[in-house]
């Protein structure tokens, strides 16, 4: 068990807290955009944990320059990994954003609960059954203007 009151302890604490905040937000928030932001935080925390795994106290950046032949260098591998992970994260976030645009356009709402219940009703209507958990007949799916003349 090592102490939290060192520089790496504080860094780890911050990284883990960040990812926990992200996961918490992902679980409790209902707004699509906030969920996306929570996902970003969660990812940022995980990336920090990953890059910290190559942290050496008093280490320098792993670049061979003229004056640093004897110095201790940080682990280059996590830095490369985190570069990859960040770019992957950017791709996924952009994708999520575009899906959110389209979902908002169709359902007119950013609330996950509304969207989920509407989605379930659409699936049930398509399958020809009453949606789970409701007694009334399936309501006709409301089409947004512009979808109708497809």
């Amino acid at each position: 068990m090592n102490s939290f009151f060192t520089i790496e302890g504080i860094l780890y604490f911050g990284a883990i807290s960040l990812s926990i905040i992200g996961l918490f937000g992902l679980l409790v928030s209902k707004n699509l955009f906030r969920m996306l932001l929570s996902l970003v935080l969660f990812e940022a925390g995980a990336n920090l944990v990953l890059v910290l795994s190559g942290f050496i106290r008093n280490g320098i950046a792993p670049i061979f320059l003229d004056g640093n032949s004897g110095a201790v260098m940080n682990d280059p591998v996590p830095q490369a990994l985190v570069l990859t992970a960040i770019v992957i994260g950017v791709g996924v976030q952009a994708l999520a954003l575009s899906l959110i645009f389209r979902v908002k356009k169709h359902y007119g709402s950013m609330d996950m609960r509304t969207i989920r219940s509407k989605l379930e009703r659409e699936i049930a209507t398509q399958a020809g059954v009453t949606p789970p958990g409701s007694n009334e007949a399936p309501a006709p799916v409301k089409l947004v203007k512009g979808e109708a003349h497809e």
Binding site: L23, L39, A46, V49, H106, Q126, A127
Partner: protein, 491 residues
């Protein structure tokens, strides 16, 4: 042997050039993908013969492991590579209007090949993410005709949130493993299992299992299943439920067999598997239409696979592999023919009379799924239960009870469905959809394979046993990938 990296590289290459090719000749872009997959099939076959009963390692970039990335090739990975190429060919979107969709299918197959071949933990994560992103795109871009265009997008978005959270957990698990051991090569990790023995190592495994479990329809993280399968074409459901879920399972069991041979890890899979079996069957029992029933029964089957993998050593891999192949055939076939049984269950009365062939094919699949004696499903379930009984410990016996209970529930709902099919038609019945579709032909083919394999149960199972014995052994794996342990313990 080095050329086997083309399995991954060729589809990527095709994916990059398809958008440009489509500008000049849409026809050509349509055929690029299938041609590449056929070349891959040839490569796999020649490698299958060359590898024989041994295995091979490819060192990418010429860097010896553990510093570089390694591909590990044996009959297990080649078998699944062949299945990937075949499945993607079967579900290839011939009538898609957008060439970008072809690119996405190519990226999906490249990622799948990478997932079964790679022996590097972070490389596996990259391919897992590529698979995920391609899947979101394919789901969002191909809704079935009857639902509004955007509901596939909404399903895809919900899937994205769950799956991305899973990927981040996978990344956290990898970070913890790297912090503890300082390496990412799975064979290298297998040589230092002692440093992963503690609580931190186990939690890393749990994070990886739950993270990859999203795609494997694992118990707590599978709420996307019904929504996604309800909004996408049936062929695509066959691909996702039949194949993509297995790839995630392969990722988990690679880690389990090579690195985390601990009782706690096995127990974790066992509990998660049992919960999946029970919850899946309960919801499937209440389902009113075939797609929902199949979706949840798929969750239950994946739970069964996790139970099989909780048996330590090569026996677990043997049974698990048989279950995976069986599930791929049965669930793939059922999803492929599901369009014939669309709509509310009560309206399908008399279907058996209209199309006796479809009903017979359906019956073959579900009887094997239940495990009725002559069918392959019976032997696999028997083997699973016998081997679970051999394991010590109360948890394994609970698992047997769970499987038997699940079989009872499964029988109840499946025979309810079969009885409806064979009832007399009444005014309420929908006329059967007799349009020619290629996917129904493939479903018949799957049923034929299932029936033929019934005759060869013992040679097939012996062959699978050989493959499993070879693939489940960490010694062979380590010796092949790290021939000279030139690094040793430098710390």
């Amino acid at each position: 042997m080095n050329s086997l990296v083309l399995l991954v590289v060729l589809p990527l290459f095709a994916a990059f050039i398809i958008p440009v090719v489509a500008k000049f000749s849409p026809k050509l872009s349509l055929f690029t993908g299938p041609v590449v997959l056929c070349i891959n099939l040839l490569l796999i076959m020649s490698a299958w013969i060359k590898v024989g009963s041994g295995s091979e390692a490819i060192f990418l970039g010429g860097f010896l492991p553990p510093v570089g990335i390694v591909f590990y090739i044996d009959h297990f990975s080649l078998l699944f590579s062949g299945l990937i190429a075949g499945m993607v060919l079967i579900v290839w979107p011939w009538d898609a209007k957008e060439s970008r969709l072809y690119s996405l299918y190519m990226l999906l197959s490249a990622a799948s090949f990478g997932l079964v071949l790679s022996a590097d933990l972070f490389n596996l994560y990259v391919f897992y993410e590529l698979l995920a992103v391609a899947t979101y795109g394919i789901i969002a871009a191909s809704p079935i005709s009857k639902v509004p265009n955007s509901s596939a997008t909404a399903a895809s978005l919900r899937y994205l949130f769950i799956s991305s959270a899973g990927s981040v957990m996978l990344l956290l698990g990898i970070a913890i493993i790297y912090t503890l051991t300082g390496t990412l090569n799975i064979a290298h990790l297998a040589t230092m299992t002692t440093s992963l023995d503690g609580f931190a190592g186990l939690s890393a495994f749990a994070l990886i299992a739950i993270g990859a479990g999203v795609k494997a329809e694992m118990f707590p993280v599978n709420s996307w299943v019904a929504e996604v399968y309800g909004t996408i074409p049936r062929q695509l459901s066959a691909l996702l439920a039949g194949l993509v879920s297995k790839l995630a399972v392969i990722l988990i069991i690679r880690m389990l067999l090579m690195v985390f041979q601990q009782q706690a890890a096995f127990d974790l899979l066992l509990v998660v598997g049992m919960l999946g079996v029970i919850s899946g069957e309960m919801v499937a029992w209440r389902a009113k239409d075939m797609i929902r029933m199949l979706s949840f029964s798929s969750i239950a089957q994946l739970g069964l696979i996790f139970i099989a993998f909780s048996i330590a050593g090569s026996k677990g891999l043997w049974i698990g592999m048989a279950l995976m192949l069986h599930h791929l055939l049965v669930k793939g076939g059922l999803f492929l023919m599901a369009d014939r049984f669309a709509g509310h269950m009560g309206k399908l009365k008399g279907l058996a009379k209209h199309s006796p062939m479809a009903a017979a094919v359906f019956l073959v699949f579900v009887l094997s799924l239940l495990g009725v004696p002559p069918f392959p499903g019976f032997w696999i379930k028997l083997l699973l239960i016998l081997n679970l009984a051999e394991q010590g410990g109360g948890l394994y016996h609970v698992a047997i009870a769970t499987i038997l209970l699940a079989t009872v529930i499964e029988t109840a709902y499946i025979f309810k469905f079969v009885r409806i099919l064979y009832q007399k038609a009444d005014a309420d019945s929908t006329p059967i959809n007799k349009n020619y579709s290629s996917s129904y032909t493939f479903a018949k083919l799957f049923a034929l394979i299932l029936l033929v394999s019934m005759l060869f149960v013992s040679p097939i199972s012996n062959h699978l046993k050989d493959i499993a014995n070879h693939s489940a052994s960490p010694h062979i794996y380590i010796n092949k990938i790290l021939p000279t342990k030139q690094l040793g313990d430098r710390s």
